[in-house]
Subunit: 148 residues, 2 copies
Amino acid sequence: MKLSTKGRYGVMAMVDVAMNGDDGPVSLKAVAERQGLSESYLEQLAGSLRKAGLLTGIRGAQGGYTLAREAGEITVGDIIRVLEGPIAPVECASEEKGPVQHCANSQGCVAKSVWVKLRDSIVKALDSVSLADLCDEAKQDGGCLPPV
Amino acid sequence: MKLSTKGRYGVMAMVDVAMNGDDGPVSLKAVAERQGLSESYLEQLAGSLRKAGLLTGIRGAQGGYTLAREAGEITVGDIIRVLEGPIAPVECASEEKGPVQHCANSQGCVAKSVWVKLRDSIVKALDSVSLADLCDEAKQDGGCLPPV
DNA sequence: ACAAAAACCTAGCACGATGGTAGGATTAAG
DNA sequence: CTTAATCCTACCATCGTGCTAGGTTTTTGT
């Protein structure tokens, strides 16, 4: 039940772009430096986010990325889905229903109700928070202490 | 955001023991056959569940496992925690707080509120369902269709 | 006493995902 | 025409997952 770094870094990057994109596009170099992440790894994540329609890429010098939609219209769930795939604690309880949904046995079927319940609460939690929400929090809190 | 087979199989096995344990202990061989799982892999899971105080092992012929507590007193969350570790979508938002909790940077801190929210809904979903609940469902539904 | 059935224990191992790096090609600003 | 950036593809080391194998102990039934 762990999120991979893709999802985590992706959210960090999107928040960074949202907060620093007021005057022109934000370069991944800047994001990488501020967030302490690898730039070339970020490139791959940004590529996925662009293809999914969450980021707009601007090439050439002084280029970078901007949000493709308003910060209030992009949820954490959107980002996670792009970078980690459909939300599904177990395959048979995926958001996106696969080819045929049948159970290997009756017991497996029983547990399914928990997995569906679990999936729904994950979806609800992730979809109820937008980038704008996170930016507002950040401005209020004023950030936290740097690492030791 | 996937559960590993440990958690899934563990829940399946516990439900199986709960439902078939009325007359004596349930052997892993029987569980493996009914659920279509590897017996030796199940042994490892059962070992962890026993050490964690969820199962009681009875050795020798006609031995097997019984629930160490009543089915109503064992939640799915209990099982998952034993087999997959503390519930934590990301490390900095773990149920069990690690050595020191500080953020690498202010942006990481911002996202943290989502992760905590996410963790809480996962915990709530998993802790609100007991083995007894799953058994009741199973008896009502009467199982579902076998695989194709 | 002995054979069978079970829990219990440990080591190892193949595979795939994760978390990157490397090196380039294209595009645009100055 | 140099520089800074996106964009693209291939590769790779490491680690967790999902097992298998092969034993030992313990208990029951004959």
